[in-house]
């Protein structure tokens, strides 16, 4: 067990290395002078040179990479070109709304999608199943921002049930938090509900054909208990895996959703950085999100071995 965990942790090292190298090379391999691109169209030669020094672009490339790794190891993501604040500070300032949106989306999606998937598997090949699957395909196809604007149009501008935009912290006013977070959560959840419902249906359907399900029914278990205790519990591993892999989708979705609903989180930080070409922020956030994704999936993998006695590596 311990050796498995150790191996799994070590396996993330090359992956993180590739991520770091990719993000490093992005700036260096881009056509033209990156310092000039960052400085913008109206920059003077002095300003370009200043940025080049700030980013260390005059050093030999191997030295640049080495310096970059050393900084990363110290959790130093660089300094914003415009605000001169460390990128880590900016991330800390903006993380709460993003975290809240991500959490509410994951919770809401699981609460809605898992029962839908189990229902679709239980009623497989009936109209109930078909309806759930049609919903899943539609949910998977409607882009987050299109969904967001349709929701704003219907529920915020039309019915006036929710505010159009903005964010309130749950630690300040829980009521306002809920009214502000509802529409963004709904918009972002659509794709996850679709994804999770689909995989839940598929894995429960597979488990339902197992011998122990027949045994459970034969000994007179209630259908509810068969579905939850025997089927869903055994189908949990692929479902949790998909939720973990879905975090990548979630990160892309958060960036867009925050723009649509004007939420001052990490997504807005990226978008503002793009418009200002504040490259250290873009770079730092890509690294931050990638490492988060790797760490989460590592935790999920390790959790399996603890939760599911059948899994032995």
């Amino acid at each position: 067990m311990l050796s498995f965990i150790l191996k799994r942790v070590l396996a993330t090292v090359p992956v993180m290395g590739v991520v770091a190298l990719t993000v490093f090379l992005l700036l260096r391999l881009s056509p033209g002078d990156p310092a000039a691109v960052i400085a913008g169209d109206y920059a003077t030669a002095d300003q370009i040179e200043k940025i080049r020094i700030q980013l260390g672009l005059n050093d030999p490339i191997l030295l640049q990479f080495f310096n970059w790794l050393v900084k990363l190891a110290r959790a130093d993501l660089g300094v914003s070109i415009f605000s001169n604040l460390p990128v880590t500070t900016l991330i800390a300032q903006r993380i709460e709304p993003t975290l809240m949106l991500a959490l509410s989306t994951i919770i809401f999606s699981i609460v809605v999608a898992v029962p839908l998937g189990v229902l679709a598997a239980w009623k497989a090949h009936t109209w109930v199943d078909r309806a759930v699957m049609v919903f899943a395909v539609v949910g998977f196809s409607v882009p987050v921002f299109v969904m967001g604007y349709f929701l704003i149009y219907g529920f915020a501008i039309g019915l006036r049930w929710f505010p159009v935009q903005g964010y309130r912290s749950p630690f300040v006013d829980p009521g306002l938090f809920i009214s502000h977070i509802t529409l963004p959560t709904l918009a972002l959840s659509a794709i996850f509900i679709a994804l999770i419902a689909r995989i839940t249906r598929a894995s429960v359907l597979e488990v339902l054909e197992e011998d122990y399900i027949r045994t459970a029914r034969a000994k007179g278990q209630t259908e509810r208990r068969v579905l939850l205790r025997h089927a869903l519990a055994n189908a949990a591993v692929p479902i949790v895996t998909v939720i973990g892999l879905g975090v990548a989708l979630l990160i892309g979705g958060v960036v867009v959703t925050e723009s649509v609903f004007n939420i001052p989180g990490l997504g807005r930080l990226v978008v503002d950085a793009i418009l200002k070409r504040d490259y250290p922020i873009i770079q730092g956030l890509i690294l931050f999100f990638s490492f988060l994704y790797i760490a989460l999936n590592l935790l999920i993998d390790i959790a399996y071995t603890l939760l599911d006695p059948r899994i032995r590596y």
């Binding site: 090359p14 992956v15 993180m16 290395g17 590739v18 991520v19 190298l21 990719t22 993000v23 992005l26 700036l27 881009s30 056509p31 033209g32 990156p34 691109v37 049609v134 395909v137 539609v138 998977f140 196809s141 409607v142 882009p143 921002f145 299109v146 604007y149 349709f150 704003i152 149009y153 501008i157 159009v164 689909r198 995989i199 598929a202 990548a248 990160i251 892309g252 960036v255 867009v256 723009s259 990226v270 978008v271 793009i274 418009l275 070409r277 490259y279 873009i282 770079q283 956030l285 890509i286 999100f289 990638s290 994704y293 790797i294």
Partner: protein
């Protein structure tokens, strides 16, 4: 569908028996028709009662839908119907170009990785790393550094799509290389490039056709997201994402500037995805049973 129909080669059932197909896959047929409709709209855009997609008309700004402007006009007085129709071109070009590019690159890399042990572990670690980077963010960074143009957008969307194709191809190669006919070919002294082209490639084709449709849908979505966030196609190109980005400030008074291109985008992505599901059921039943 009867057993005899199942035994027929794919082409025969797909195009030969139109009626049974429509009865069995009504959604897929409708989706195919919607895709065809958008393709025709893109090709014949100048003939579809459109005018100049870039033509400003300040006197005519923010007009509601009318006989002259079916979808109304935007804040510069440009005709929204015209721009939505021309936006189809941008989306489809990006979708198809990214699908072709990522499938071709992924196919070559995946075949080499699956066949050459030494390359395998290196290539797959690189792919793992690329997959860990959120695709939208990677594309944003690439476009914002290289300057916005149609070409950079296509390249930036292609790169994050490649790892999935590589994995798929590699998985097929790993199963195929154990097949007796491949062993026979090796025993007969067939050289590697020929084995890859003659034996491995045909086995990848069905899965790749399915994957290409998903990549196409995902690329159209990413292009719209990039343009919407201001890191996509240059603003003078009438793409749906650009239209939606420009309409944001006017959403409360003229929601249609966003809703029309948004609906078009959602519809075309939905249709391509459904078409992909249909192709998967038809061409790649092994995959269909699993998901």
């Amino acid at each position: 569908m009867s057993e005899t129909a199942k035994a027929l080669p794919v082409g025969a059932t797909m195009f030969g028996h139109w009626r049974p197909l429509a009865a069995r896959y009504p959604f897929v047929v409708v989706a195919a028709m919607i895709v065809l409709f958008f393709v025709l709209a893109a090709v014949f855009a100048p003939l579809l009662w459109t005018n100049d997609p870039l033509g400003l008309n300040p006197l005519n700004r923010l007009k509601p839908p009318s006989a002259a402007n079916w979808f109304g006009t935007d804040q510069f007085g440009r005709d929204l119907w015209t721009r939505t129709v021309y936006g189809t071109r941008v989306s489809l070009i990006v979708g198809v170009a990214v699908a072709i590019l990522s499938i071709s690159i992924g196919l070559v890399v995946g075949m080499l990785a699956g066949y050459i042990r030494l390359l395998d572990s290196i290539v797959m670690r690189v792919m793992d790393g690329l997959m860990a980077i959120p695709g939208v963010l990677l594309a944003i960074a690439m476009v914002s550094l290289s300057g916005a143009s149609m070409f950079t957008v296509i390249v930036a969307i292609t790169v994050p799509e490649i790892p999935r194709v590589v994995r798929l191809v590699r998985a097929v190669v790993l199963t195929v290389r154990e097949e007796p006919y491949v062993e026979a070919a090796i025993a007969a002294g067939t050289r590697l490039p020929l084995i890859l082209i003659r034996h491995v490639l045909p086995n990848c084709v069905p899965a790749l056709i399915v994957q290409a449709t998903y990549v196409c849908a995902s690329a159209m979505l990413t292009e719209a997201i990039l343009s919407f966030l201001g890191a996509g196609t240059p603003p003078e190109i009438p793409s749906w994402g650009n239209m939606m980005a420009e309409g944001r400030a006017f959403f409360p008074i003229a929601p249609r500037i966003i809703l029309f291109p948004g609906a078009a985008l959602a519809l075309v992505i939905l249709a391509v995805n459904v078409l992909g599901d249909g192709l998967r059921d038809r061409l790649d039943p092994k995959l269909a049973r699993r998901v």
